[in-house]
Symmetry: C2
Subunit: 198 residues, 2 copies
């Protein structure tokens, strides 16, 4: 193996070992059985499975394989920034300039561990996900919003109770984003969620 | 939404909620920092990331997107069967007829939660992974073998210490399978692993 090949593998595995830390980033949401908080590594796996199992709800211009790649990468910045719960700070924390800037710095550092070609490829996918404009990104964001709703329903309320969320807030912060990429999924979930709010 | 559409979504989400339980299946391997045992959900995410970051080590006839799909699905049977550590029972437990039969029954039950078309699609991918004959499955198996080696190296020995593994056993049980799908990766990892065994 040439020194260049060895150095490339060094960088690939430096990134993969650093990524292991995402398994220690805790989200506000619990597992479906309520036994503990979910971490962002297992959450990312679950979302990739969501994309596979709900592919028929994506529009005809969506590539499920690109959606899966985005979802595998989408939370890596949380290694530096932590998870920012959607309902925290009255629903405003996630969009704050400070959070956005911190996530950009984290993306620079973490993707920068990789060889340059892979760093550019992964960063472009993450930027596309964050911008939420392309059909692939919009569908990926829908799945990222619906999975915590399912966990809350299964665990008896979860973060809705923690943050005193109303059904109107759920529709604004979550439902509108699910409906944007996967309208039939929100139609289905809404019927399940509505009774919880009394 | 028609009753048939509602029933399809009922089945898709029954499967996705059941899959949540994979986050509670513990493996023998720890996280890289040694802080706790890894679960099979976050392990599956990490392997999908391995496939993305190490794609250039796959042969020209490998589809990385199919490899990722296999890796997302590959451990779901552990919800019923549990994880069978590669070095347990002197390296024999994983291939036992009892384990194989239990995994087949688990696949019947878990994939059977899905609508029939998705059940058939996912089962075919899982069967292909288990058979380890196609280029996609062989590469996926290589990644499944190399990730615990990296965790053991990072955490100071991990399951090699637990099961008193020798370097020869590592080469037979693990190295040969990494080398089959990704020979340069085993060349690189071997150099890192050899000194641990003294």
């Amino acid at each position: 193996m040439s020194p260049a090949q060895t150095e490339r593998l060094d960088r690939q595995f430096a990134f993969l070992n650093e990524a292991d830390r995402l398994k220690s980033v805790l989200r506000a949401t619990t597992l479906c059985d309520g036994s503990r908080r979910e971490n962002s590594g297992e959450h990312s796996w679950h979302l990739a499975l969501y994309a596979l199992a709900l592919a028929d709800h994506a529009g005809p211009d969506v590539s499920i394989d690109r959606v899966i790649r985005m979802l595998i990468l989408h939370d890596l910045v949380e290694i530096d920034v932590g998870d920012v719960p959607i309902h925290s700070a009255n629903g405003q924390a996630h969009a704050s300039a400070a959070t956005q800037e911190a996530e950009q710095r984290a993306a620079d550092r973490i993707f920068g561990l990789l060889p340059a070609d892979l760093a550019a490829e992964f960063r472009a996918l993450w930027d596309e996900f964050e911008a939420a404009e392309t059909p692939d990104a919009v569908f990926a964001k829908s799945l990222d919003r619906v999975q915590p709703v399912m966990a809350n329903l299964a665990s008896g309320g979860g973060t809705w109770a923690t943050y005193n969320v109303t059904f109107d807030q759920l529709e604004t912060r979550v439902g509108s984003k699910i409906a944007r990429g996967a309208p039939r999924i929100w139609d289905w979930v809404k019927v399940k969620a509505r009774p919880w709010f009394g």
